[in-house]
Subunit: 369 residues, 2 copies
């Protein structure tokens, strides 16, 4: 299926930091058909560098980032469900972010864009869902930062969420997770082309952004998956170069992925979105994470992966434990995979089974009520 | 004790890459007294950013990097042993490296310095030991890259090594280890001040080097030790800043450690030494790692740490397994620690016990022979 990105505009959006954004737009795609009761909508929440194009093929022939999970007969079965995905606030793929034009100045926001939170990101998504007339989502789900948004949804709009499926995620960013993000931010800011974020129409901070992405890629894979994929294999050579050109396949891969990222992502969005992740702490302002989750009224399916060292299973278990303390309906699956954090994107066999079963139960119970 | 760094000069050093370096110097320190039979010498091999100042207090009042392990009554007991440590080839603390003057040009080598290997580093150390009249070392030992050197010693100079103690290390750098090093190298090279390595007497690539060091520091700690040390604690503030200054303690720590590193380390040395680590593969050119280790004639004590994810225990077990296949005398200890890779530097209680016991046995057997 060829998919189209839609745009919806809102006059304003109130932010957790105290500011209000004006003339906000959100880009979204949808797959499948919304039923007459509008009770079959599933909201997909993308990870850090994702976009609204979650499934199908776009006009450039590019498959959606979770096309393996969304479509006819797939985990999020578009024969049954209306699947919706919007680019997050602060992004650079159609939704308002630092590269958007500031209506007050007529120039891109750059670093004058306000710092945003996962709460702000979800608030805009709620406006998109309401715009489509959806009063209750059958499910909210996503991996990594998408999982943070799913958890935020369950707490911020409990009456709108039938089921919540956070995958490979955490209820609060850890020191190590903040540390990796901070390293990426500093790599961008250190690039002279960054120019305080005011680089639009000029050379972007390409090298800094590429280095940030290299760090990211290492954390998305596992030691084992890197060993299997690259090992110590040399790149287009028989022997070590005894120089500083590429010797190893893994060096070539990281350099390629780093430079490729520059063409599709905005450095300021990198700063703002990683900051939103680092600020994420669902239990902040509550006596405990369990107390924060008390508001939730969803069923939960929590998924983690054995080799994911960026969002390790213990962080999912903290969520599960907090939910159980408030007697929520929660299922937990730790899936076996060598793919590290990337598993939720690339190793979807078992994930499909558990999601399908869980959604079928949720839908049965909705129909029964 | 106040320690002095000594310098020894050699006319030339042959390198694995085919070049020969001329007018090579090595900086070393020693602690304790060499006995009349010159049979009580222990060679300490430093990690990536270390130096010859392994123990005692230098003229600036700075303690050696392994002072907790070296001294009277400590693991490497200077009442019994003559302990020697030299700065590695390619370094920037007194031994010839890229910041040294190239005798052919009268200017610093910079990137005209030849790419070196762990084999080259050890070859220069062997010349230092021979210069001191030492025919056989009671032990060679080090953590991280120091452990690689210890393994290389055991294979390259089997007749000179009574005992080998590789700690928190590997017999070959993995794809993930290469990937982290490559990211650091690219951060340095991306800094405009790097200027192809020709920055001596000008502004060094301080920001690139600081970012490389930030990545390094994350890998030296563990998720758990970062949680205990920093958690999500804010730095000198009550609330989130909603800006891009430092919010969290962990950000402040990394920025500080990164900028501090610039004052004490040379960016070109970073490139050359990480490359030597990445090139390290003890079994290369042999049918197997076990075949490479067949030449060794030492007793081995292999140590790893439970929370070290940069040089995980499975890599030490590969060494142990290869040694056992050739019926070597090998003891393996996986020590319990939360400190990650840094454990060999900072969590030395149990490490001291196992090293002491092992050295006592080695010395008894030397005396008996």
């Amino acid at each position: 299926m060829i998919t189209e990105t839609q745009i919806v505009r809102f006059p304003s959006l109130r932010l957790d930091g105290g500011d209000t954004l004006h003339d906000v737009q959100a880009a979204y795609e949808s797959y499948g058909r919304l039923n007459s009761g509008k009770s079959n909508a599933i909201l997909i929440l993308h990870a850090f560098s994702g976009d609204a194009h979650a499934a199908g093929i776009d006009h450039e022939g590019k498959a959606g980032w979770w096309d393996s999970m969304i479509g006819p007969g797939k985990a999020f079965d578009t024969d049954q469900y209306f699947v919706l995905c919007s680019n997050i606030l602060g992004g650079c793929k159609g939704t308002t972010g630092p590269s958007s034009i500031n209506p007050e100045t007529g120039r891109p926001y750059g670093m004058s864009f306000p710092v945003i939170t996962v709460g702000d990101i979800v608030r805009l998504q709620q406006m998109v869902a309401s715009h489509l007339g959806i009063k209750k989502l059958l499910a909210v789900t996503g991996g990594s930062m998408g999982g943070m948004q799913a958890l935020q949804w369950a707490v911020a709009y409990p009456e709108m969420v039938e089921a919540c499926i956070p995958i490979a995620t955490t209820a609060r960013h850890s020191a190590q997770q903040i540390a990796f993000n901070e390293t990426g931010r500093q790599a961008i800011i250190a690039d002279p082309n960054f120019a305080g974020g005011d680089y639009y129409g000029k050379q972007p901070p390409a090298r800094g952004l590429a280095i940030a992405r290299m760090v990211g890629h290492i954390t998305y894979m596992s030691d084992e998956s890197m060993r299997e994929k690259f090992g110590r294999r040399l790149r287009n050579r028989e022997d070590l170069s005894f120089g500083f050109d590429v010797d190893f396949e893994v060096e070539s891969y990281l350099r390629y992925r780093g430079s490729q990222f520059v063409g599709r992502f905005d450095a300021n969005s990198y700063l703002y979105i990683t900051k939103a992740m680092d600020y994420f702490d669902l239990g902040a302002g509550y006596p405990s994470l369990a107390a924060a989750l008390e508001r939730a009224a969803s069923k939960f399916l929590v998924i983690s992966f054995t080799s994911d060292w960026l969002y390790p299973s213990y962080q999912s278990l903290e969520i599960v434990s907090a939910l159980r303390r408030r007697n929520h309906d929660v299922t937990y699956c730790e899936l076996s995979s060598n793919y590290g954090h990337d598993a939720f994107l690339v190793d979807v066999g078992e994930q499909t089974e558990v999601v399908k079963g869980f959604l079928a139960r949720c839908q049965r119970e909705v129909v029964r009520v």
